[in-house]
């Protein structure tokens, strides 16, 4: 069946896109769709020492998208769960899931449509192939946003991120900043009322602050932690039950994909087993955050500093950022030692921004963007140090 479709494409559709055909300008668009559906017919040629493997960028990206599916599905269910908690209606598992799916899927569709639209336009203008990088960004963008964000804002942010964050630098693989985080940063600074506060995290609650049936508000754990002057853990404990475990499971308000550390860990396992994401970045990132958390515990100048270090790992977007965004192979440090430094500083700075700056409780996003910019510098010094070390060795041998 699929062979028949492929043959049909090759014989009847492709010629009009080939050189000299009617639609030759649109070849990149055709090529993108064909290679998306079928394994490309060409392989690396036999010369040279390349490893010839079936896994091209498209397959790599699809693995990352698959790794995000647990977080996405959980996010859909949690959206519905939070909604029914706030209304106090009776509901079943499927009710919650369907409500969430209806809220979340439009965001995903808009993000992909806007981003891929820009990618196709640039590919056709520049006459290169449509790169696959956006497959991941397009899924990351909705997952790191609050559920009530208007669709046009998502489209505007996606277009901004793809054009200014990626295409001006030369397209996929050339970007300095993580595209999804560029979109999120754009939204945070452009429309702050839609990205923070206690109204946007729960479905159906933009007109007034959502109160749960039991009277608690819809603010995220992070927002509560920054606002509360004393006794955060106790207060959160009262509100969400055992707060560490509820934050770990993810049945709390927050951005769509980042509430459940468990779902993100399943994704992390997929990424690590397939070898797509770097365990060095993830490991050192978690270490960095934990160290910073412990330092703050020792200091303990205000209640937020007294939040136990392990709570920082499950609150807010830390887990999501460190698993899916810090490990972005394009924007992370490339050298092995560099990856440890890069990851450690993301965790370290992320928690520092989170605790020190009440205006931006989601410090992980800013920390990753900052370290994206610093990654080439880290690599530079790692390489320099290596050169120096080896030079010393040869000098010693020569002498």
């Amino acid at each position: 069946m699929s062979n028949a479709i492929h043959n049909f494409l090759e014989k009847n559709i492709k010629p009009s896109f080939d050189k000299g055909g009617k639609l030759e300008n649109f070849f990149p668009a055709y090529d993108a769709l064909e290679t998306f559906l079928f394994v490309p017919g060409h392989t690396t040629n036999g010369k040279g020492s390349h490893i010839r493997d079936g896994i091209d960028m498209k397959r790599t990206m699809i693995m990352v998208v698959l790794a995000m599916v647990p977080a996405l599905l959980f996010g859909m269910w949690n959206t519905g769960y939070q909604y029914f908690l706030s209304t106090g209606e009776a509901y079943t598992f499927m009710d919650a899931f369907l409500y969430g799916a209806l809220k979340v899927l439009p965001l995903v569709v808009v993000s992909y449509a806007a981003g891929l639209g820009v990618e196709f336009v640039f590919a056709i203008i520049n006459k290169h192939q449509v790169a696959e990088g956006f497959l991941v960004s397009g899924m990351l963008i909705p997952l790191c946003l609050p559920v009530e964000i208007p669709l046009w804002m998502v489209a505007a942010a996606t277009i901004f991120a793809v054009v200014i964050g990626k295409e001006v630098f030369g397209g996929t693989g050339m970007n300095i900043l993580n595209v999804a985080l560029t979109a999120r940063a754009f939204l945070l600074f452009a429309y702050p009322t839609w990205m923070s506060g206690d109204k946007v995290w729960i479905g159906g609650g933009t007109d007034e602050a959502v109160a749960y049936a039991d009277g608690s508000t819809g603010a995220t754990l992070l927002a509560q932690a920054t606002e509360r002057s004393s006794g955060f853990v106790d207060a959160a404990g009262v509100q969400y039950g055992d707060s560490f475990w509820s934050a770990f499971m993810g049945m709390i308000p927050g951005s769509i994909g980042e509430t459940s550390t468990l779902a993100i860990m399943i994704g992390a396992a997929i990424l690590l087993i397939t070898g797509i994401a770097s365990w060095k970045v993830m490991f050192s990132g978690i270490a960095g955050a934990y160290v910073m958390g412990l330092l703050f515990n020792l200091w303990g100048a205000n209640p937020f500093m007294e939040v136990p270090a392990h709570m920082h790992l499950v609150m807010g977007g830390f887990a999501f950022g460190i698993v899916f965004m810090a490990t972005d192979p394009v924007t992370a440090a490339q050298t092995s030692t560099g990856k440890y430094i890069y990851g450690f500083l993301i965790g370290f700075l992320g928690i520092m921004i989170r605790v020190f700056n009440p205006a931006y409780p989601e410090g992980i996003m800013l920390a990753i963007l900052f370290m994206n910019v610093m990654a080439p510098l880290i690599d530079h010094y790692v390489v320099e140090a290596n050169i120096k070390r080896r030079q010393k060795r040869t000098m010693a041998v020569a002498a």
């Binding site: 208007p150 046009w152 804002m153 200014i164 001006v168 754009f186 600074f189 452009a190 429309y191 702050p192 009322t193 839609w194």
Partner: protein, 225 residues
Amino acid sequence: MSETAEATAVVKEPREPLFSSKNKKLLSDPLNDDNPITIQVLGICSALAITVQVKQAVVMSLSVLVVMIGANLIVSLMRNLIPSRVRIIVQLVIVAALVILVDQVLKAYVYDVSKQLSVFVGLIITNCIIMGRLEAFALANKPWPSFLDAIGNAAGYGWILIAVAVVRELFGSGKFWGYQVIPDAVYDFGYFNNGLMILPPMALITVGIIIWIQRSKNTKLIEEN
């Protein structure tokens, strides 16, 4: 009589017409091919700081125009008197005097804008475009070309400033020259002003986009490599 007139005419160099092609280039080059902001990347500080509203940008551009014309003319007239060792300090004194004049005029006639521009009027003294033109042009040319050069460069600076300000005011606060231009109906429909447009990074990005458009249109500017 006619003989002497002919003789002097032969001795004298043929007088250049006021708007010869060379002089016209002085006016037109800074607008595009040699724009102080987008090509030479000078005067960026003020371009980022005072382009939130069109009104500020226009007042700033006019102030720079006045200061630049005055400074270029004065320096050009004095170019043979200024010892080259102390030329920078002489230029600074001239520019500073002119800036103080402009500042007083702004305070007298457009006080509110003057308040908003605050320190940036004073900072015209250190505007790299003005110092650059004095050093590179007025010190070595006659007053008339210096005058044209000043107008050209101030206009090149001004149009970028105003273009950036139009974009930032429109998207940042939905206004033009302080008047709302995006109708209420659009806001009722769910539109929101873009808070990022008010912040300086967006001015940088807007200037970047203008440079991008300019380079894609003007093939002379594209480097070969």
